[in-house]
Symmetry: C2
Subunit: 153 residues, 2 copies
DNA sequence: TATTGTTATACTCTATAACTATA
DNA sequence: TATAGTTATAGAGTATAACAATA
């Protein structure tokens, strides 16, 4: 509905956003924020934020991975990973074992409980894709992901 | 190069990220972070963070727009916009004028100086698109933006 | 000397509650 | 009663510097 009180200030849905919407970064960010919203709305039962999920999933699929590698892959800084891993460990979802060949490093492994939880979380996340991409056909979704990877990878 | 010291922990480029890379949110976020990096690397001369740029550009193209509308369009919270607008005003890039028909609201307008700066910033940002999307054809870039908008809009 | 992981800390971003002036 | 804008503040996220242990 139009706003008869305020001809000088355009309605929310009548704001000219064409320049911003012509930019890749703006559109990628808006999509990212939508996906995070959906994640937060539906993943509460697992007690994992998006970053926790990413880390836990990488540990599950890469047994023995180190903090350093997680930081490289996810673009995190080592100090910010310490507390995150400590929490996952205290919840009994992962264990840290001294690396057999590098005394400085610690290999990260999902416990049985961690494997069960993360697999369930992955299943749920995958099901949320349908919701996030509900306005896209299967082909469009595949194309979108392919093009995004082409940009940043 | 492979890491001969550490067979249990995969190299950075050999980490299995297939699950994460199958997710729209993960790929959108990675692309968004890349775009922000490029922005920060090249837009320093304008003294505008990404959010400042978005706000200033919307004011330029929507003279008389209110804080409330900016919040709606950009998904910001009113308290977080106050300081931002104060800074733009103190730099002489925008002015706030009492709204003629709503005593509560303030219309936002770009000054001449603001118009000049924001137009230059927009030109620069547009040129950075070529860099961000350098691995995409013109058609692919158009498709990517179209599909992103289809998801979040 | 360089790297892994850690601590402490600072900075930025985002969110909540409460207030004022006006509608 | 509801809304626009503001203040103060809390919480979450991200960043830098410095250290111990090991390579």
């Amino acid at each position: 509905m139009a706003n008869p009180r305020n001809p000088a200030a355009p309605e929310g849905d009548k704001v000219d956003t064409r320049l911003l919407e012509s930019l890749l970064g703006y559109n990628a960010r808006r999509t990212s924020l939508l996906a995070i919203d959906v994640f937060l709305q539906h993943m509460g039962e697992f007690g994992l934020r998006p970053v926790d999920f990413s880390v836990a999933s990488l540990i599950l699929h890469n047994p023995g991975i180190t903090s350093r590698q997680l930081c490289d892959v996810l673009g995190l800084l080592p100090p910010n990973l310490v507390g995150l891993l400590k929490d996952l460990e205290q919840r009994g979802l992962i264990v840290r074992r001294p690396h057999p060949l590098d005394g400085r490093a610690l290999g990260l492994y999902a416990t049985d409980e961690g494997q069960t939880l993360v697999r369930a979380a992955e299943k749920k996340v995958t099901s949320l894709e349908a919701q996030i991409a509900s306005r896209l056909s299967a082909d469009e979704r595949k194309t979108l992901i392919r093009l995004l990877k082409k940009v940043y990878l």
